[in-house]
């Protein structure tokens, strides 16, 4: 009996140990996260690797030649047309992200410091437009800025101009206005979150020690909310660089962006490797620009303080 019991406990021991690992927090965590993680790996991680691989290959009619080459990158980086598109896209996304943050900051500040009991309602009212169809919002701007559009008919109605102007639509300014309108609500959230974390007693202390409202803002509130500003810059700058709908709808030839070229390579031009190289180049370029902007911003705020 005793031997049998010992035998059982001996055979159970490793099982018990692995069961105790299975019941550990770490194992439970891995089990739970595995489904969403593997999904993201299969639908994003792996595809990105395949895109990078494609960017070193060559399209030969319907098949892909897998000999490694840098030819796609030579075209993506040095062909004047792609160079122009990339620089314009970077410039537009930079301007839009700076504008967005500049417009969003006072609102986030207002809600955080003067929102009172209705903070949640304010946030909701301001973020609702962000959730409505992006395509529809771009279409709305086309209606506003068009030749027969709202702005022109309003200007003519008030007698400010005598004939409709073509200056509003189909240029990169129209793209910037539309993108700023589309993303500004999204930029408010991270700024608001970081402003909520600012210790109010520090602002009071600065005022008590003789700083005026502007100085205490520049030296206390702004530096403390910098993480939110940086997050807002990034979540606007990186996605907007690859915007396809806005340039296509309101950009005209002057407002074409790199995403339109990428789409063309996957569509009519049927040159997937070049499209892949353009995607990778864009991603690297916008990350470099974002990194540079963050460093410059940190240095500027430090200098102010």
């Amino acid at each position: 009996m005793a031997a049998a019991a010992e035998g059982i406990s001996a055979t159970r021991a490793p099982g018990a140990r692995s069961r105790s690992y299975l019941q550990s927090d770490e194992a439970k965590g891995y089990t739970l996260i595995s489904a969403p993680f593997l999904y993201a790996l299969a639908m994003l991680g792996l595809p990105v690797v395949v895109v990078i691989a494609h960017s070193f290959w060559t399209q030969t009619y319907l098949t892909v030649d897998r000999t490694l080459t840098l030819e796609n990158y030579r075209q993506a980086i040095f062909e004047p047309i792609y160079q122009d598109l990339l620089f314009r896209s970077l410039w537009i996304s930079f301007t839009v992200s700076v504008l967005t943050v500049a417009l969003a900051y006072p609102i986030a500040y207002f809600i955080s410091f003067h929102g009172g009991r209705h903070k949640n309602l304010w946030l909701f009212v301001i973020t609702v437009p962000f959730w409505t169809s992006y395509l529809l919002r771009v279409m709305a701007w086309k209606v506003v800025l068009g030749y027969n559009g709202v702005l022109n008919s309003a200007l003519m109605g008030t007698g400010l101009t005598s004939e409709p102007s073509t200056a509003f639509l189909y240029n990169s300014t129209a793209v910037m206005i539309t993108l700023t309108h589309a993303w500004v609500a999204f930029a408010i959230l991270p700024i608001f979150v970081s402003l909520e974390k600012v210790d109010r007693t520090l602002v009071e202390a600065a005022t008590d020690l003789g700083d005026g409202p502007i100085r205490s803002f520049l030296r206390v509130t702004l530096p403390l909310s910098l993480p939110g500003v940086i997050a807002a810059l990034l979540i606007v700058m990186i996605p907007t660089v690859g915007d396809y709908v806005t340039p296509k709808m309101v950009g005209g030839t002057d407002g074409v962006m790199i995403a339109n070229a990428i789409q063309a390579q996957f569509g009519r031009a049927m040159n997937k490797p070049l499209g892949a190289a353009l995607s990778v180049t864009t991603m690297i370029a916008v990350c470099l620009m974002a990194g540079g902007t963050v460093l410059a911003l940190r240095a500027a705020v430090r200098a102010f303080r």
Binding site: D25, E26, K28, L32, I33, S34, A35, P36, F37, Y39, A40, M43, L44, P47, V50, V51, L103, P106, I107, Y109, F110, H114, N120, V125, I126, V128, P129, W131, T132, S133, L135, L136, R137, M139, A140, V143, V144, N148, G149, V150, N152, S153, A154, G157, H181, G212, P213, L234, I235, I238, P239, G242, Y244, A259, Q263, F266, K272, S279, T282, M283
Partner: protein, 273 residues
Amino acid sequence: MSAVRRLAANWLPAYAVLFILFLYLPVLLLPLFSLNNSASPRFPLSGFTLKWYAGLPKTPALLDAAWNSLIVGVSAAVLATVLGICAARALTRYRFRGQRAMQGLIMAPLVMPEIIVAVSILIIVLALGMPLTLLTVTLGHVLVCVPYSISVLISGFEGFDRSLEEASADLGETSFGTFRRVTLPMMAPAIISSLLVGFTISLDDFMMAFFLGGNDVTLPVYIWGQLRFAARLPGVLALGTLLLVASIVLLTIAELMRRRAQERTQTTGGLLA
């Protein structure tokens, strides 16, 4: 100094009002011109009509697109919410190595240019020889919806009182029973909120549907196709208005649910005490 402060206190509310106008006015033009009796959207308005709305149900292509959007939206919302529940629970309840990296990859679609995500999926779908159908659109939408699902669910899961689950386990429930009978009911509002947000994102998404849909058309892709014809603009405006109203109603319900979820988890202690 008090003068400066008064100015600061006064310009901010004024700016907030202007800001809201800037956000809403362009969007509100869609419903306005969808009710206007003129083929081109311009002032002055020429008269009230519902004819653009009346024309919508008579377009078979539109009804097909609406049906497609409904199928994709419901499937994407359900799948994304199931994955989101797993991730949100793992992230709020457990600590494990590699957590931040895994979270980073799952949340990455939130900060990537959508065209690059779409093109990456397209390239792998083509490489596998899969046909472009509503299935591929749904798979893409799930990827985009999961990060939003997780954010909504985490705000419901945080502050969740673990002692409730422990009590249930002590009273003899299995871990699945505890999840089904304790955790799930507590989380129901957050889950409904996540489903609605997921459906709204899928309903409104254009890029994934455009790249991964092949010949299967969802509503935004249908609208995109119609935009080439100036004469069909009023009909598109009417359809857009309906989509806008649907999104706003769904999001309002989602927000109310999310708040209820937060209240539930926060007042737990009070109820038990």
